[in-house]
């Protein structure tokens, strides 16, 4: 309620625009009732002071350095800064932080340093080998195919290795009258031990009777060896199952009887020792086999006999099949072999001539002729 004791407050509120509409009506009613105060209101003005720019220059004197007791404050500021950098600061915390920076300019530098720790991606770093990583669609099937072919290739390689790289140094080969060849699948070298693999005895061996053999030394068990009889006609496969002395061997012998000893080199005795895990016989075999190497035991009664090594035997068989008449079984002339093959197959006519200084060959197959001459030394 407006009266003459509080009208000034109402005047001030009216001038500052704080009166409601209803209050203004009340004021107007009051002024009509008090015309002298209406004049006073007309003269009433808001006199305000203009803000002047004024800077206190000695703030630095007033400021205090943060003491060690203010580590809490420092820590607080640090946490706020980290939150700000991480983008998880609240508005209230932001205000606190700004206030701290305002009061402590050193905090500004602290914050700027922390801002730098926000790493930015170096887009220039790119991976160059994306295409190497990518897979072709359907590569699952390709992988399977690749796997299967790899296994197949490895199997072939293993079989190939077993067949062709399985060392068979100097296998013992005996040719029987019916031209069948008996092969002992053993590895040996002269004076060394056999390491038999698989079946070391041919099924074509037949045993007849026992023979005493001289010049035996003490042997281990399970020894087999081939020895030629005194007359050179027989090959004796001796299988011994017990130790024996140098003489008076009583053991079971098997004998191969072959009519023609021509294909067997008589001058070798081979001690085949079965590799047996239960015995230690294999360990001393080199000594034993050397002891058994008795070239004088065997003689051949046939002058025409040619002692053949297994290699020579093979070459001889090839030459026989190709009707190459020379009895040089050390090697085979490839040209002669070709000539013989062509001739044998009837593909055409081949002439081959050898003289002391040159070789000459002419081939005629199906009407096409070819001839060449070259020196023997080539």
């Amino acid at each position: 309620m407006i009266n003459r004791f509080n009208y000034e407050i109402w005047f001030l509120d009216y001038v500052e625009g704080k009166l409601s509409v209803q209050d203004i009506r009340m004021l107007n009613t009051f002024l009509e009732q008090n015309p002298d105060l209406k004049e006073e209101l007309d003269d009433f003005e808001i006199i305000s002071l203009k803000k002047e720019e004024f800077v206190y220059k000695n703030k630095d004197i007033l400021r205090k350095e943060l003491e060690s007791s203010d580590t809490e404050l420092i820590s607080e500021f640090e946490d706020l800064s980290l939150k700000r950098i991480e983008g998880i600061i609240t508005s209230e915390e932001l205000n606190s932080m700004d206030e701290l920076m305002r009061l402590n300019p050193s905090f500004v530098k602290e914050y700027k340093l922390l801002e730098l720790t926000k790493l930015t991606t170096d887009k220039s770093l790119k991976y160059k080998y994306k295409n190497h990583l990518k897979k072709n669609v359907g590569s699952g099937a390709n992988n399977l195919i690749r796997f299967v072919t790899t296994i197949a290739a490895m199997s072939i390689l293993i079989v190939f290795s077993a067949l062709f790289f399985n060392k068979r140094e100097n296998p013992i080969m005996v040719t029987k009258p019916d031209n069948s060849i008996t092969v002992f699948n053993t590895k040996y070298s002269e004076g060394s031990t056999f390491q038999p693999s698989g079946n070391t005895e041919s099924n074509s061996i037949s045993s007849n009777d026992d023979n005493k053999l001289n010049n035996y030394q003490k042997k281990k068990t399970n020894s087999k060896f081939i020895q030629f009889s005194d007359d050179g006609n027989d090959i004796l496969i001796k299988e011994e199952n017990k130790e024996s002395t140098t003489e008076g061997l009583q053991s079971e012998l098997r004998r191969i009887e072959i009519a023609d000893a021509i294909d067997v080199k008589p001058a070798r005795n081979f001690n085949i020792e079965t590799t047996n895990l239960e015995t230690s016989s294999g360990l001393n075999a080199p000594t034993l086999s050397k002891a058994y190497f008795k070239p004088d035991l065997v003689q051949t009664s046939k002058q025409s006999d040619i002692a053949l090594t297994p290699k020579e035997l093979i070459i001889k068989n090839v030459k026989d099949k190709l009707n190459i008449k020379d009895r040089n079984y050390e090697n085979i002339d490839p040209v002669k072999a070709i000539v013989a093959v062509v001739d044998k197959t009837g593909l055409g006519k081949v002439d081959y001539a050898l003289n002391s200084s040159k070789k000459e060959i002419s081939i005629s197959i199906g009407g096409i002729s070819f001839s060449r001459k070259w020196n023997s030394g080539e």
């Binding site: 730098l116 080998y129 072709n136």
Partner: protein
């Protein structure tokens, strides 16, 4: 995930993985190997990994490979930094160099977390899932990493 998705992952994430690996080991050849190994592992587990989780899977694998590498080679954080091009303009190159050196002084864990946070903008939760850490642990590690970097920069007397 099928082969197409896998190839998509190669396009989308190989650069990120490479950057992460390179920043960690500072050797391009080693980083290339790491990327390749990571994607080989992804390929081996293609049926178990979904496309939307492939990125975190790759980072997880890469991080494990890095840990193995560190154990094997006994990498030290302050290894020789490779000389490589900076993408910043020259006037900032000093700061970036210092920052790079500073990052190298961090432990493997702190470095990994920082790289995942800043380079890949993973959340705390995502980083925690990649590294088998809780969110609060990740936050603590990040704060520690930044403080260490700040202290390094302070000691280097960087001009701001």
């Amino acid at each position: 995930m099928d082969v197409k998705d896998y190839n998509k992952c190669v396009d989308l994430y190989s650069d990120s993985i490479f950057r992460f690996a390179f920043k960690s080991v500072k050797d391009e050849e080693t980083a290339n190997d790491l990327v390749q190994d990571a994607f080989i592992r992804l390929w081996q587990h293609i049926e178990k990994v979904e496309l939307h989780t492939a990125k975190s899977y790759l980072f997880k694998i890469t991080n494990n490979l890095l840990i193995d590498l560190y154990r094997k080679n006994k990498y030290v954080s302050s290894v020789q930094i490779a000389d490589y091009q900076y993408s910043y303009i020259d006037e900032y190159s000093d700061i970036k160099e210092h920052l790079d050196k500073a990052v190298n002084t961090l432990s493997q864990t702190l470095k990994t977390i920082l790289l995942l946070r800043d380079y890949e903008e993973y959340s705390y939760k995502e980083i925690g899932e990649i590294l088998d850490l809780s969110e609060s642990q990740v936050k603590v590690y990040i704060f520690r990493a930044r403080k260490k970097l700040k202290d390094y920069l302070l000691s280097a007397k960087i001009e701001l």
